[in-house]
C-alpha cells in the first residue's frame, strides 16, 4: 500500500492532465474547451505540489529548535504553483473575453462552425 500512497497524487495529477487534453481535443464548444484548459492547469498545479509534498509534513520554517528537517515540505514547488495559478487565471480571463467577442461575431461557440480562417 505504501507504493500506492506515494504515487497516488501523481496518478491523480496526470489523470487530470489527460482529461484536460482530451476535452480540448474532442469537445466542440469553446466554453468546454476553456474548461478543459482549466482542468489541464489544475492537473499541472497538483503535479507540481505533489513533487514537494510530504504526508503530515511541516512548513519549512525553523520556529522550534527540535524540528526535523526531513519532515519539512519543499517550498519551491509551492512558489511555482502560486505563479502558475496566477498565469492560469490570466489566460482563463483572456480566453473567456475572447469567447464573448467570438459569440458576438458568429452567434455560436461551436468551433466546427467557425472556420473563416483556414490553410
Amino acid at each position: 500500500m505504501s507504493v500506492l500512497n506515494n504515487y497516488v497524487y501523481y496518478g491523480g495529477a496526470f489523470g487530470l492532465i489527460f482529461i484536460g487534453i482530451y476535452i480540448v481535443l474532442v469537445k466542440r464548444n469553446l466554453i468546454k474547451v476553456i474548461i478543459g484548459l482549466s482542468i489541464l492547469d489544475t492537473g499541472i498545479n497538483l503535479f507540481l505540489i505533489s513533487l514537494g509534498y510530504i504526508s503530515k509534513g511541516t512548513a519549512p520554517i525553523f520556529s522550534k529548535i527540535d524540528m526535523e528537517i526531513a519532515r519539512m515540505v519543499d517550498p519551491v514547488p509551492q512558489a511555482l504553483v502560486l505563479t502558475a495559478i496566477v498565469i492560469g487565471v490570466a489566460v482563463l480571463a483572456l480566453a473567456l473575453t475572447l469567447a464573448i467577442r467570438l459569440y458576438h461575431h458568429y452567434g455560436t461557440l461551436n468551433l466546427r462552425k467557425i472556420k473563416d480562417q483556414r490553410w
Binding site: 484536460g20 474547451v33 484548459l37 499541472i44 503535479f47 498565469i87 475572447l98 480562417q117
Partner: protein, 489 residues
Amino acid sequence: MVNPVLLIAVPLGLSFTLPLFGLISKRIEKYVPIVALVFNLVVSFMLIPEVTKRPINVFIGGFQPPFCINLVVGPVGILFSALIALVGLLASIYALDYIREGAKQLYHMLYLLLLTGATGVVLTGDIFNLFVFFEILCISSYALVGYLGDKAGIESAVKYLIQGTIGSSLMLIGVGLLYGLFGTLNMADIASNIDKVSSISIFVPLVLLITGLGVEAAIFPLNAWLPDAHSSAPSSISAILSGIAIKVGIYAVARVIFTIFGASSILHFLVLLGLVTLLIGEISAFCQNNIKRLLAYSSIGQIGLIVFALGMGISNGVVGSLFQLISHALSKALLFLTVGYMIYRSGSMEISKLEGMGKRMPLTSLAFTIGAFSLVGLPPFIGFPSKFLIIRAALSKQEVLFTVLIALVLLGTVIEGAYFFRVVQVLYFKGNHNNLKREEAPVPALIPIVILMVLIVIVGVYPKPVTTMLNSASSELLNRIEYIRSVLG
C-alpha cells in the same frame, strides 16, 4: 557598468505606469514605448564590449546560484536583446501613426509587456523564470492579435490562445519533471547534473519542453496558429510577432537542446523537422492570394531554414542560423511594415489589388522590393551572406546526406523567389498606371522603413561586425561546459 536587470525592469515598469502618463496628457502615451526601447537599445549596445569578454551574471535577491533566480547576459542574450529592442523600437515608431482606433492605451501597454517578456526569456538563467517570461510574451501577444476586435482577429486569437496554452502547459510539465529529477531550476545546475541520470528519464522532459516551446517557435506540426495570427493582427504587431516572438521561441529551443540537455543525438531529427517546415511553409506561401498570409507562410519557411541550420550542430551552422535569424527579423519586419500601409491605401489584402503601388507609393514599394529580395537571398542585401553561410556550413559537413538536404533547401529558396517576384511584378508592372496620384505613407511610418532598408543594405555589404558577434554567440551556445562554469563559478 549598467545593471542588465534594467533591460527587463525599465520596460516592465513603464508599461504599468503608462496609464499614469496618460493622466498627464493623452498625447504622450504613445511615446512611452519609444523611450523604453531606446533605453534598451542603448544599454544593450553599451554592454556588448563587456559581455563578449565574459558573460555577466546577475543574482537576484542576494543568494548565490543555484538557489537564486539569475540572469545570464552572454553574447547570445545581448544579441537577442539588442535585436528585440531594435525591431521593437522601429515598430513602435511605426505605430505612432498606424494605430488610430481601439483602446490605444492598452495597445501600448501590451506592446511593452510583449517586449519585456521577450527580453526576459533571452536573458534569464532559470528555467521556471523562462516559463514565466514566456507566458508574459504569449498572453500579451494573444491579446494583441485580437486587438482590432474584428471577426478574423478574434478567431485567430482564440486559435492562438488554445494552442499556445497547451504548449506552455506541456512546457510546465517538463519543468516540473526536471525539478523532480534534479531539485533545482537553475539551467546551468541542471545542465551540470544531466549526465547523472539515465537518458530515458530525461527524454520525457526534453520532448515536453521542445514540444511546448515549438508551438511558439512555429516548428512544423505545431504551427497551425501562425498564418492566421500573423495575418489578422495589426501590421505593426505582425512585424513584432514575425520578427521577435517566434525568434524567441527558437532561442528557447536552442537553449534547451544545446545548453541544458546537450542532446546532440536529436539534432538529425531537428534538421529533418526544419526541412519539412521549410518546404511546407514555402509551398503554402506560393499558393496564397492574400499578401499578409503569404508573408506569414514565408515566415514558417524561414523558421524552417533557421531550425535546419541550428540542427547541423556545428559552429558554422549555428553562426549561419543566427545570422539568418537576424536577417529574417529585419527583412520580415520591413515587409510587414510596408504592407501595412499598402493594405491601408488599397483597402484590400488581395495581391491583385496592389497593382500600381509602384507609382502610388514609390518609396514603400522600393522598401518592399528590398525586403523581398533580401529574404530570397540576393546580394547585396542581408539575406545573401546569411544563406551563403548556411550553405557553406552544410557543404563543410562533407556528407552526402547534407548535400542532398541543402539542395532541397535551395529548392525552397527557388519557390520563395517565385512568389516574391510575382508580388514585385504586381507592384510595378501590372495594370494601368496612368492617373495615379502619389500618396506615400506618412512620415512616422517612413522613418522605420528607411532605417530598416539602410540596415539591410549596410549589413549585407559589410557583414563583418555582425559575424564577429555571432561567432562568440555560437560558441556560447555550443560550449555548455563554459556556460556552466560561468554561472556556477
